[in-house]
């Protein structure tokens, strides 16, 4: 479904390379965890796949169902079925959640050749999704993320995810800043959306969320490269031992092996 080939990227207008040759393949129905210490490039990877304008891809390829993602605008990627749950969801004062989500959902439906929802149909449709993240109806009338608590913002991301029904969801540190209850709600929401047709890339610093969302594959990103890949047991190993042993194993004299 997603194929990343030797991807190099840097911050737009700067010279420092952040991603230094990423190779990653995510198949249908799979959940991949991307872990790594601070500054390893894991959030950058998610943002680059979604098309964040702050980054510039210098070489390599990203293919989504064989299509060249790098040629697509962020909204085209979204309509093709890619979704990025933000680490820091943006506040949009004055624009109600209902207004944004309805427009998103209808744009997605249009792109899939389905009928758009009228306001009443949308109300029914979104009611089920709200239940999924245990959010009250009144969240729809509030401005997008404005004045939301950290947990509410993350739940709102999952609400949007659920509403847009993407095929590949990129969760950028969705677990960070969540208390245990919110983490449970968010994780259960995500779990209920798992299926044979849709995939997840869970970017996280800690193993905690992986107790709830069991990954099929775990990748460790360090210094802009994937230095180790394995099954879900790798996450536990990292939780117990930290990232230091990997540094020793993969770097010799400061250079990657």
């Amino acid at each position: 479904m997603l194929k990343i080939i030797d991807l190099h990227a840097k911050v737009e207008g700067e010279d420092i390379e952040i991603l230094k040759g990423i190779n990653l393949e995510i198949g249908k129905g799979e959940v991949h965890a991307v872990m790594g210490p601070n500054g390893s490039g894991k959030s950058t990877l998610a943002k680059v796949v979604a098309g964040h304008p702050a980054y510039e891809v210098t070489s390599g390829q990203i293919l989504f169902d064989g299509e060249d993602v790098l040629e697509m605008e962020p909204e085209e990627r979204a309509l093709a079925g890619l979704f990025l749950a933000f680490q820091y969801p943006v506040e949009v004062p004055g624009v109600s959640n209902a207004m944004l989500i309805r427009q998103s959902v209808n744009n997605v439906r249009k792109a899939r050749g389905q009928e758009e929802f009228d306001p009443l149909e949308f109300e029914d449709y979104i009611a089920d999704k709200l239940k999924l993240v245990e959010m009250d109806n009144k969240f729809l009338d509030r401005s997008v993320n404005a004045g939301f608590s950290g947990g509410e913002k993350k739940r709102n991301e999952i609400l949007q995810l659920a509403a847009m029904e993407p095929r590949l969801s990129l969760l950028d540190e969705t677990d960070s800043g969540l208390d245990i209850d919110a983490l449970r709600i968010v994780s259960e929401g995500i779990n209920s959306l798992r299926g044979t047709e849709n995939s997840f890339m869970v970017v996280t610093h800690y193993q905690r969320i992986l107790n709830y969302i069991k990954p099929d594959f775990v990748h460790v990103l360090m210094g802009g490269r994937i230095v180790k890949s394995g099954g879900s047991e790798l996450a536990l190993e990292l939780e117990n031992q930290g990232y230091d042993w990997l540094v020793k194993e993969t770097f010799v004299n400061g250079e990657a092996k």
């Binding site: 962020p74 909204e75 004062p93 109600s96 309805r102 427009q103």
Partner: protein, 443 residues
């Protein structure tokens, strides 16, 4: 129908005035103010770019045109039905070409002791208030436009709220300029008076019909006795070829509360000069504004908030959205006089530039002579942030839609404080139309 230049700039209003005839109101304090104003129009010259306060605004497009004095005109309810506010069904004054149209007006919802209507029908207590204050609140130094308005006004819309009374319904003053057959000049005038402990909301709404250019010099004066509350909303949605030059003056009594919200999207040239004289302790003034300019529109707000007494607060949020080759000027003066201690004054001017060719000028101007005050001011000129745009694009919205949505959200900040629901909805739509945003939120 407008005729080309034959006026010299400095004497423009004087020459225009000399072609006008006077329609006396029969109200003594008004007529004596008119006599003085006629002399002032002769003496006070029309501003030029050499005047400090007019440096950023060229009046050339105005004085190239001649305007005829507007007659009373017939307008049917159907032609203007979209502008009526349901909340003000029985508290509406319709003004056509500066004259109150009684057939279209309905003020039956006004409580006893209160008055809303033409100065010509005003009861004795209103005349007394006029004697004390008419023409004295609009203290614009040697301002030919205020003088011109006073010299040629045909009527005055008065809203008077009696002691201890709250007028529940908003009073809606719908100012219409009829430019269907010729280029006209009108001089709408408003006088708002709140007695002790009174409370009222007044909406001044400016629209035009017809396709000729027109020139509106609007002046309003608000006087608040102690502890009186007034929300004063000005909506300037004139035709896009109009000239609108206005003064919005207020005088605040002890513990009074004056909240002014101005929303403007119309006119080719708009100059507004809010002036708030906070002349008693514990009073509060709000002078918020939302300005939208597109095409070749020019909008210029020169405000003055004068803290003449201690222990008062003021709030000024002035937001601008500039598209096309639109131009916006903001000059916000805040004076804190020598003995006006413990003043808390907030001023912020935010400008959103959405086109390379739009122009924004901003000049916060604080003059503080007291030493124990809290005054904050800020001015920003910016574009929409990449992060916000990317967020909405990642939700499947095109960049254009994302921009429209963000602009719309930016504008609603000012509108959401307006305490009239149907007007909020109208203005929300106005903003949506301006930004091209088709999805409109409920506010």
């Amino acid at each position: 129908m407008s005729t080309a230049v034959q006026f010299a700039q400095t004497t423009y209003l004087n020459e225009l005035h000399s072609g006008f005839s006077v329609e006396p109101t029969g109200v003594a304090p008004v007529e004596s103010a008119r006599e003085q104003a006629a002399l002032d129009v002769k003496e006070w010259s029309f501003p030029t770019p050499r005047d400090e306060d007019w440096r950023q605004l060229s009046l050339k497009p105005l004085y190239r045109n001649s305007f005829l004095q507007a007659d009373s005109a017939e307008i049917s309810r159907d032609e203007i039905s979209e502008y009526f506010l349901p909340e003000a069904a029985q508290s509406t004054i319709v003004v056509v070409n500066g004259r109150i149209n009684t057939a279209l007006s309905d003020t039956s919802a006004l409580p006893e002791g209160c008055f809303a209507g033409s100065v010509k029908d005003a009861p004795g207590f209103v005349i007394k208030a006029l004697e004390a204050h008419f023409g004295k609140v609009a203290r614009y130094a040697k301002d030919a436009f205020t003088a011109f308005n006073t010299a040629v006004l045909a009527d005055i819309s008065v809203v008077f709220t009696a002691k201890d009374v709250k007028i529940e319904a908003p009073v809606h003053i719908l100012h219409i300029t009829d430019a269907r057959t010729q280029a006209v000049a009108t001089a709408p005038r408003v006088f708002i008076y709140g007695e002790l402990f009174s409370d009222a909301t007044v909406v001044e709404d400016f629209i035009g019909v017809g396709s000729q250019i027109y020139f509106n010099t609007a002046v309003s004066e608000t006087v608040l006795e102690d502890e009186a509350h007034v929300n004063h909303i000005k909506v300037q949605r004139e035709q896009k070829n109009a000239f609108h030059i206005s003064r919005v003056a207020s005088l605040l009594g002890r513990g009074s509360n004056y909240n002014s919200y101005t929303v403007s999207s119309g006119a080719q040239l708009f100059r507004n000069e809010p002036l708030s004289l906070v002349d008693a302790e514990n009073a509060h003034a709000t002078l918020d504004g939302l300005v939208m300019v597109d095409g070749n529109q020019v909008s210029d707000t020169h405000s003055t908030l004068d803290h003449l007494k201690p222990n008062c607060t003021s709030h000024q949020l002035h937001k601008v959205i500039a598209l096309g080759e639109g131009k916006s000027v903001f000059n916000g003066k805040i004076f804190v006089r020598k003995d006006s201690q413990q003043i808390d004054a907030y001023q912020e001017n935010r400008n959103l530039l959405l086109s390379e060719n739009a122009d924004v000028f901003t000049k916060p101007q604080l003059e503080i002579f007291a030493d124990d005050v809290k005054c904050s001011h800020g001015a920003t000129i910016g574009q929409l942030s990449d992060e916000e745009l990317f967020y909405l694009q990642s939700r499947g919205l095109s960049k254009k839609t994302a921009m429209q949505m963000l602009t719309y959200g930016y504008a609603l900040d000012v509108i959401e404080n307006i305490p009239v629901e149907s007007l909020r909805a109208q203005l929300t739509q106005l903003v949506a139309d301006f930004t091209g945003n088709e999805a409109v939120a409920q506010v």
